[in-house]
Symmetry: C2
Subunit: 210 residues, 2 copies
């Protein structure tokens, strides 16, 4: 997202985290701007009865936990390293200073926020009325088209059915049945656990490159 050398020149530092380490907690006071250099991060909300809602998967190159930097609230979700990861972080006041000195980067961030908001609009609409199959489909499209620039050569989806369930508000069993069904209909291939999503249904929404 932000050039690493620029971050370093403002005093940013690297940090290693192991798989399943908590980076920050929902509601926690914001201290840093975070950017993922290597690895993968889960961004999760816990409901009062312990279920977890997976708001987003952060891939290398993306930033996360940026909301409090702007509105001075707590972190909107808990972030957990999905695998061993390296991240770079910059303390809050230095981040603000960086934006002031580099207005074009501030515009880049507005774009980022707008994009993320746009995706939430989309996914919320999908969640509100659609049946399970469409929800899962919407998520796949997002992962393929919305994050293409970051992710992968093609359209592999490397989430467990449980994680898909966590992102769509469905139960594992339901997701398993839906995916199974899509597989039977030839809408996707499964090779060694990975889902290869390769149907050419129209793209409804995409989180553009930023």
């Amino acid at each position: 997202m932000i050039d690493i050398n620029l971050l370093l020149s403002f005093g940013a530092s690297y940090k290693k985290v192991a798989a399943n380490d908590i980076i920050f907690n929902e509601g926690g006071v914001c201290s840093y701007y975070y950017q993922l250099v290597k690895g993968r991060v889960r961004w999760i909300n816990y409901t009062n009865d312990g279920k977890e809602y997976l708001q987003s998967i952060i891939e290398a190159g993306e930033c996360f936990g940026e909301l409090p930097l702007f509105d001075a609230g707590g972190y909107a979700a808990t972030s957990i390293a999905d695998v061993d990861s390296i991240l770079i972080r910059l303390n809050m006041s230095a981040f603000t200073q960086l934006l002031i000195e580099n207005p074009e980067i501030h515009f880049k961030f507005s774009k980022l926020l707008a994009n993320r908001l746009r995706f939430k609009f989309f996914i919320l609409k999908e969640m509100a009325f659609n049946d399970p199959a469409k929800r899962v489909n919407a998520l796949f499209h997002y992962l393929r088209d919305g994050k293409k620039h970051i992710c992968l050569t093609c359209s592999q989806i490397k989430l467990t059915r449980q994680q898909i369930a966590d992102m769509t508000g469905l139960r594992v069993e339901t997701v398993i049945r839906v995916v199974r069904n899509m597989y039977k209909n030839g809408e996707l291939k499964i090779v060694r656990g990975k889902i290869y999503f390769n149907v050419m249904t129209p793209v409804i929404m995409s989180e553009q490159e930023y």
Copy 2:
């Protein structure tokens, strides 16, 4: 949101719209920054099968349709005047210029975007796992606490059951039953159609003043 005189100095103009007039359509190319001076605006997504999801109700003083200004996509939802309204609009390039010349307003907008994103995080989590009663409750809390600064003296909610259904992804009948039930439990009063929401359950999330 932005001071009206400042907007005017950048060439903004007033516009009157009648109830149910469409201000802009989902997906449409962005031409203006909009700010509501008087009235009320519905912000809606239509699903392919004609159902509408009410993303937000815009009250006087709030801005809307700001996403495309930052990320150059289309409008994220259709906006329709709920009642006769007056709005002020500023063309896109002038808006950008305004932000460049007034970095503090740009920060204000980042805060706004962050806030709106935060609310979507919240409502999405609620929608994903909660039962109907909790969904409606979450919406009520948002309308009371999140929008207190704009709305009303107290905690009236002037939405029809249909509109509540449109915001929670439930059906009218379900909402009617839920509200009826809350009424019976003394969780709210209904005076001439308006819902007076007056229970002191802890505030989970609030869209802060901006």
